[in-house]
Every structure is written in C-alpha cells, then in structure tokens.
C-alpha cells in the first residue's frame, strides 16, 4: 500500500509499505477515506517530539471503511464507514472506566503520561497512522464510530480530534453565562474552542494570534473579537484594560509548544530545545486571566518542562485544567451539534490534497502558504 513515510525533520514522502495486519483480536483494518494533517503533526514534522523514528507513518485524524476485523470484534462490520478517534483506548482500564479515554493505560508501552495515539511518534505508542491507504485500528469496537448516513465525511474526519479538542478546551474552562473567554491561537483547535465557548454561554469571546488570515476566518466563523498580538504592546496589559482591569474569566491555550511572540522562549524552547517548546501562550494565559479564574490547556507540549509563571498561578488562585480530548466521550453530543448546525466543522478545510502530494501539503501547512487553515488528504479510493 501507499503510505506517508517520515524521513527526518521537514522531510516526508509517500512510499510503498506492507499492508497492515490484524495483530490483536480486537483490531480492525480500515481503508482510509479522509485523513487530516494536524498542527500537532507539525511538531513531529519539525523534529520536536522525542522518539519520532524514520519510517513511521503519521496521521491521527482519519476515517475509513472497515476492511477486516479481528476475532474479538463484535460490533463493527466489514463495510462500515467509521471515524476513528485519535486516542487509542481500551474502554476498560482504570482510566477508561473514568471516561479518560485520552489517558488509556493499555495502549502505550513507551510512556505512562500519555495514552496511545495513532501515528504520533513512539512516545505515544509507536503506531503507524492514517496518512496511508490502510491503517490498523486497535480496540476497534471501542473507539471507531460509524458515521451517520447524513454526515459528510469531511465533517466526520474533523470529529476525530479538532472539534472534540476545541470543544473540551471550552468545557474544561468551566465557562459560565456571561463569562469573558480568551482563546490563544487561531489554528483549527482555537477556532473550534472559540465556537464552542458560545455553546457554553460565554458573554464575550476574544481570539489572539499573529496570523491575520486566520484571525479574519475566526472573526466570521466563531464569531469572535480578534486581535493580532504583534499590534499590541503588551498582550496582558491589553487584556486587563479590555476587562475593566480585572482579567478574563477563562483563558484557553490552543497553541502549545511552538508559540511565537517571545524571543527568549523561542530561543531556549524552539532553537536550543532546553525546555519543551516555547510556552509564551500559556504564560500569557496565566497572566491574562482574572484572579480565581480558569486556564484550560489543550496546546501540545513536550514531556520535559517549561518556563511558566507558576508563582502567579498560586497568588492568583487559578485553576489549571488540561487534557488530551476524550473524543469518544464527546462524540454523541458533537454529532448532535453537527446535525443541528450548531457546529459546521468542514468550513475550516482550506485544502484537499491527494496522498501523493503529501510533502507539499506538509510544507504548505507548516509555512502557512496560500492561507492554509486545515489540509485534508482525500484518498484516491475514497
């Protein structure tokens, strides 16, 4: 089969690879129909995630048609068109029992801090991902969800990560009616977080980024008040001024480890890699939220450590909430939101690309060419 093949930082190509096989009785093999490139894939592409090995196939946002199932699979049928949550979850371990499907303890040998994720380095379990014609999907009866007849696969594929992650970011914010919510980052997840903030009753939604075309997009889509931080002297002072000197009720970090905006953080975090990426978005979130407020983190950070003003978290009495989205938990609600038009995921797709052009798609997304927001691979046999 044809599959994306990682060759080193900034280098990917499509190669012929062996067909995936059933390796566990609860596995399924899925013929991929849609597969996104995610902002978190760019952390891999940039060589920022430890234990990203040459030869791995990336891709944790995909849907496809079930081709084959293992002997313990009871519900999924060959021919089902399913969307596959990015978390690999068993559904029965200590953490899955509590609904923490992003933190399964039975899917990742290499680390205990993170559960298995498709195509996301060996630190997240060493699985080949869905940027390929076929993929092996463990725990097939638990994660994969049949796409309803009425749903466009372009919407479905965004329910594997982007929509639930954005939605959970807002949910973890504990937003109360009338709250002012600030979202740092106008990437796909930040856009969905801003949209979701309204669903929780926000009174005001502000989005901060430095890329104008993305700010323009979220201004219409969420809708939201948008500001380019390069045009602000000091983001934190601006936030205080615009909230009666108090700060926002809820701040959401939808950026993570490759944040721009601070030279010191960029040098030690991104160039020298002495901390787990640049943490400036989280820094701003902590300092912009009001005392007693909530900071919700869904941006991806590395496993080592970051420079953040933790003293202010104490002195301000903040609550920090964070997790990888528990996709399976949220799906019933989100499918309903898509059905009723409360969320329109596919509007964020800007580029549809064949698998063979994957190197161009990665570069285009990484370098933010052609106003790219979300590239989706459409497989030839889809």
């Amino acid at each position: 089969m044809r599959a994306m093949d990682y060759r080193g930082p900034y280098r990917v190509r499509v190669d012929e690879k062996p067909m995936p096989e059933i390796q566990h009785p609860r596995d399924a093999i899925v013929r991929v129909t849609r597969s996104c490139i995610c902002g978190s894939d760019l952390h891999l592409y940039h060589g920022m995630v430890p234990d990203t090995r040459i030869g791995q196939t990336f891709g944790h946002e995909f849907c496809g048609i079930v081709e084959e199932v293992g002997s313990e699979v009871e519900k999924l049928k060959v021919g089902d068109h399913v969307l596959v949550p990015f978390n690999i979850a068993c559904g029965q371990c200590h953490f899955c029992k509590q609904g923490l499907y992003g933190n399964c303890h039975e899917s990742n040998p290499a680390a205990t801090a993170v559960g298995g994720i498709f195509g996301y380095s060996h630190t997240a379990g060493g699985y080949d991902g869905g940027q390929a014609e076929y993929a092996r999907v463990p725990y097939a009866d638990f994660g994969p969800t049949v796409i309803p007849d009425w749903m466009d696969p372009d919407d479905a594929v965004l329910l594997t990560d982007v929509v639930p992650t954005g939605y959970q970011a807002a949910e973890m914010g504990g937003i109360q009616k009338g709250d002012t919510v600030v979202v740092f980052g106008a990437g796909p997840v930040g856009i969905m977080a801003a949209r979701s903030a309204w669903l929780f009753g926000a009174g005001r939604v502000i989005v901060i980024d430095h890329i104008d075309y993305r700010l323009e997009f979220v201004r219409e889509f969420a809708p939201a008040e948008v500001y380019n931080f390069k045009e602000l002297d000091d983001v934190v002072v601006f936030m205080k001024k615009t909230t009666d000197g108090l700060g926002a009720d809820v701040c959401i970090d939808a950026v993570g480890a490759e944040a721009s905006g601070n030279i010191l953080q960029s040098i030690i975090g991104k160039r020298m890699k002495l901390e787990a990426g640049s943490a400036i978005a989280l820094h701003w979130a902590i300092n912009s939220v009001k005392k007693g407020g909530i900071v919700s983190i869904v941006g991806v950070y590395g496993p080592t450590g970051n420079l953040v003003p933790i003293g202010n978290v104490v002195n301000k009495g903040l609550t920090l909430r964070a997790n990888q989205a528990s996709v399976k938990r949220l799906l019933p609600k989100l499918i309903e939101h898509v059905k009723e038009g409360r969320i329109e995921p596919k509007k964020i797709i800007t580029h549809k690309v064949p698998l063979d052009d994957i190197a161009d798609a990665y570069h285009l997304f990484s370098a933010k060419l052609d106003n790219c927001i979300k590239p989706v691979l459409v497989l030839a046999n889809a």
Partner: protein, 198 residues
C-alpha cells in the same frame, strides 16, 4: 512515603452514596488501615467540589491498579517500555523497531524514567542520528532521495516564489551543499512560526 502521606481522598462508595457497611480502607506506609482510625476522615467529603467534572467520572474510580485486562497482543518486534509501567500494555504499535546506532541510544534512554531529562534528551539525540541513518539506508538501497520534493518545494514554488528564489540564490552563492543548506535555513525560518493545535 511518610506516615502522614495518607490517601485522604474520599473513597468511591462514599461518593456513590452507598452506606458502607464495613468501613473503607486507606493506605498508609504501614499498609491498609481502617478509616475509622483516622479522626475526621471523609467528614467534609463533597462530590460537588470536583474540578475534574465533566471529563472524569469519579463514580467508577476504585483507586486500584487492577482491572479486567484486554487480551494481550504478543510482541513480535523489539519494544521499549517505560520503567514506570508495571506491565506491558495490552496493545502497542510495531511501526519502527529500534535499530542501528539510534536504536542503541533509544535502548539506553529507556533505562531512565519519563521523569529524567536524560531519557528525553537521549531520544531527541537518537532522532537526529536516525535521520542520517535513513539517508544511508536509502543510498544502500540505491535510492537517491528527492530531498527538495520531500520538503515540499513544489508548494513553495506555487505559493512563495520570492521566498524560494531568495533561498536558492543565497544557497547558490554559497555553493556546495545546496540542498542540505537550504533545508536548515528553511527550518530556522519555520521555527519562528507558530503551530497552533489542530
């Protein structure tokens, strides 16, 4: 763990509201202890005071490390396992087993827990070595990688001709090692970019 290091969180059956007939147990460093021996235990337990709502369902939290395990996948490739794991998880990926020099570095890294910087720095180092190994592997198979294509030069040509021309011009002026050099330059520029989640 010290004697005072008690698991003072209320147990699941208190939270679930069942009238526990036998007192629940907590663990101290001297082993399991009946909570009736701990003055005030659970007195102010309040299920409403739970910032983990709504993404953690505490009613099923039994505080034990035991559960009905799925069928176990049988390893047929070398796996590196975190020393923080009690046992090998039931499923795992078999994408790219460790090999060559980078594999030796990765094996060494897994002697340390996820809490040690040495673990992660060795893995990052192994990734860089692995990149060179990948080139050697390609060449050994008489395959010359089309590096500009792998780096998406066509997208750069279509959407950023000026940037591409500048890169090639400067690279040509400097001379040899054009592709390697332009790659590292490309990386520096993009490093200053921002990657939002999603």
């Amino acid at each position: 763990m010290s004697d005072t290091d008690l698991a003072i969180r209320p147990s699941s059956d208190v939270r679930a509201g069942s009238d526990a007939e036998s007192s629940p147990m907590v663990h101290t460093s001297s082993g399991p202890v009946d909570v009736s021996r701990i003055v005030g235990w659970g007195f102010d337990a309040d299920t409403e005071n739970d910032p983990t709502y709504s993404y953690r369902d505490r009613s099923k939290d039994d505080h034990s490390g035991e559960w009905k395990r799925p069928t176990l996948q049988q390893p047929d490739v070398e796996l590196l396992q975190s020393v923080e794991h009690k046992q090998l998880p039931a499923v795992f990926g078999t994408s790219s087993p460790p090999k060559w020099v980078s594999g030796m570095m990765r094996r060494a890294a897994f002697r340390w827990s996820e809490s040690h910087w040495a673990h992660w720095l060795l893995l990052m180092g192994a990734d860089r070595v692995n990149m060179v190994e990948g080139l050697v592997e390609d060449l050994a198979q008489a395959k010359i990688p089309n590096i500009p294509k792998e780096m998406g030069v066509r997208a750069e040509w279509q959407h950023n001709k000026k940037g591409l021309a500048a890169k090639i011009g400067i690279a040509a002026a400097i001379g040899g090692g054009l592709y390697l050099w332009s790659r590292s330059r490309g990386r520096d520029e993009e490093d200053l970019g921002e990657e939002e989640r999603g």
